[in-house]
């Protein structure tokens, strides 16, 4: 049974320092819980892979295809010649295509966000409410009591004002 050591910091700088030290000390990559997005966190914890852009891109591509197919396909399902124009006129249908590209791009981005950030998640997870106000928390999972003690030590050293032992995944 793994436990998590969670240190609360006053300032992002100390929290980041603690996270860096923990990582350097061989712990699993710690996670930082903060009230604002932290700049420079990637230098400390390493670059994160991002899949959302793929969602957006393919969503857009699919949207374009879908948009044109919707316009052209429905136009031929029930032929309604209008205004001396072809059944499938290109410029107006490009506008539909454009709008659908964006619509599905947006929806795919949202899905990408939800999938990659694992939302929605309503089960109990590692969290300190203070981190939504003005505290910066660094959480790291520890395999055993020894690990916890070491993590606590590192975080205290970096300036954590409080260390909590929390059960739970993530």
């Amino acid at each position: 049974m793994a436990t998590n050591a969670l240190g609360l910091f006053d300032a992002p700088s100390t929290a980041l320092a603690a996270a860096g030290e923990l990582k350097g000390a061989g712990f699993d990559t710690p996670s930082v819980i903060s009230p604002i997005p932290l700049h420079g966190i990637e230098e400390v914890l390493g670059k994160k892979k991002d899949v959302i852009r793929r969602f957006s891109f393919f969503g857009g591509i699919f949207g374009a295809l879908f948009g044109f197919t919707l316009a052209a396909g429905t136009a031929v399902l029930y032929l309604h010649p209008t205004g001396g124009r072809p059944i499938i006129p290109i410029p107006p249908f490009l506008i539909i295509t454009y709008e659908m590209t964006i619509l599905l791009g947006i929806l795919a981005t949202v899905i990408g966000f939800l999938v990659s950030a694992r939302f929605p998640a309503f089960r109990e997870r590692l969290y300190v409410p203070e981190a939504a106000v003005d505290k910066f928390a660094v959480a790291v999972s520890c395999k055993d009591a020894e690990g916890y003690r070491r993590a606590e030590e590192i975080m205290r050293g970096a300036g954590a004002e409080e260390i909590r032992e929390l059960e739970g995944a993530d």
Partner: protein, 454 residues
């Protein structure tokens, strides 16, 4: 930062949560009034119109479009600054955006909703309006995607979806923050709305990217929306509507009126929601500069429109021009010029830009002028088309004016409800603009002044 006194991260949370949960009787009275006005001025006349037919309005042959459509364009236009401006400023990393963008986006959302109801009010048989939505049906009858109005349907649906998602995405961390401080039904609501947000580095990273991609997608969308609205007119062959400049004209006009709308909303938020520390002179100064630029572009496009009309030398265009400048609706035209082209020149003065009440008055004047512009686009051109013997003047009826007032009240009602649900100032982004907390000397840890409810 911008405020007169130092504000801490905790202050931000406290102020915002207070704005959500502490509700004075003033709020309820205002909400009650605006809801009643909505009911009396919007819904009752509308029901009467549903019963009687569009004839309850003042439209006639050949001016078959009237204030309903003008209101539609107006609300769509008002929607334009919110999300669009927010996206642009987000991508360009403007700090001053952060305190105001949430309410700006809310304006987008609610103006779009009001615009959508204006469509319902406008059409002759709103009970069949779903036929304009592409959905599979037994008859295999689909909407006509060749129609500029269908472009509208698609664009506005997309814009409404995009804007809602955009404002929601930006609010997730704030919902989480509020979640922790609320109880009862509010808490449950925010639990659902925050999706289980914790604020881990991964979540921040994903949100950051998703938000940026959305911003990138929404900017061209917003531009397309009002271009498409303009094509409802410009793709016709009506003199003075059949103009290539209409798309940029509408887009600029939309952003113009939307920005003015933001100024108005900012003023009231600042005044009545006690956000003095977040919405400051800097915002008004910057918005004022933006308004000035937009007003100049708008004036330029108006001049271009007049010039091309005059230069065309065709009877149709000249008459449309003459009618606009000197005809039945001329007083409205000159009112519009006064409010939208002349008055905004005051914005050259920094003192003006940083004075709250004058900015409020100007912003309202600009929007009155912009409403007039939309009305004139419909009324002057439709009442002066190709065949002079079918020309006829159009005057809005009481029902129309009432519905216009009612739609404004509906917007206010929606906004009032919004400010009690959504943190109307973005908590985390305001925090970002504050100086980073410094590590305190190793003493006793600050005990939070509330107990987490989780």
């Amino acid at each position: 930062m911008q405020g007169e006194r130092e504000i801490s991260y905790a202050d931000v949370n406290r102020d915002v949560v207070r704005s959500l949960v502490e509700t004075g009787s003033k709020y309820y009275i205002t909400l009650g009034i605006s809801a009643t006005v909505t009911l009396l001025c919007f819904f009752f006349p509308w029901f009467y119109q549903l019963h009687y037919g569009i004839g309850a309005a003042g439209m006639n042959q050949p001016t078959v479009w009237g204030t309903y459509l003008a209101s539609f364009i107006f609300w769509i236009g008002l929607s334009h600054s919110g999300t669009l401006l927010s996206c642009v400023l987000h991508l360009t990393n403007s700090e001053w955006r952060k305190a105001m963008y949430r309410s700006a986006e809310a304006m987008t959302l609610f103006s779009l909703l009001v615009a959508a109801t204006m469509v319902m009010v406008h059409v002759g048989r709103p009970w069949f309006v779903h036929w304009a939505v592409p959905y599979p049906n037994q008859m295999e009858m689909w909407p006509n995607f060749r129609s500029p109005l269908m472009f509208d349907v698609m664009a506005i649906t997309t814009y409404l979806t995009g804007s809602s998602i955009f404002i929601y995405m930006g609010s997730i961390p704030d919902f989480a923050a509020v979640r922790d401080r609320t109880t009862g039904w509010r808490h449950h609501m925010y639990v659902l709305l925050s999706l289980g947000w914790r604020g881990t580095d991964t979540e921040w990273h994903r949100l950051g990217w998703a938000y940026t991609f959305l911003a990138v997608l929404i900017i061209p969308l917003a531009v397309s929306v009002h271009s498409i609205v303009s094509w409802d007119f410009a793709l016709s062959v009506v003199p003075a509507l059949h103009q290539t400049i209409f798309a940029p004209y509408f887009v600029v006009g939309a952003i113009y009126s939307g920005t003015a709308g933001i100024v108005t909303v900012m003023y009231f938020l600042r005044k009545y929601m006690n956000f003095e520390h977040y919405i400051t002179k800097l915002h008004f100064d910057n918005l004022g500069k933006l308004l000035l630029v937009l007003s100049l572009i708008w004036t330029y496009i108006n001049a271009v429109e007049l010039f091309t009309g005059w230069y065309s030398e065709t009877s149709f265009e000249i008459e449309a021009l003459r009618y606009k400048l000197f005809g039945f609706y001329a007083p409205l035209y000159w009112e519009m010029i006064l409010f939208c082209a002349v008055a905004p020149l005051l914005l050259i003065s920094k003192r003006f830009r940083t004075s709250f009440v004058p900015m409020l008055i100007l912003s309202i004047a600009i929007n009155i002028g912009m409403y007039t512009e939309r009305f004139l686009i419909v009324a002057t051109s439709l009442s002066r088309q190709y065949l002079p013997d079918s020309w006829r003047v159009y005057v809005p009826s009481f029902v129309e004016i009432s519905i216009l007032v009612g739609s404004l009240a509906m917007f206010i009602t929606l906004f009032l409800i919004f400010v009690k649900i959504f943190p109307s100032v973005s908590i985390y982004e305001v925090k970002e603009t504050l100086p980073e907390p410094e590590p305190k000397p190793q003493t006793k840890a600050g005990v939070p002044e509330w107990q987490p409810t989780r």
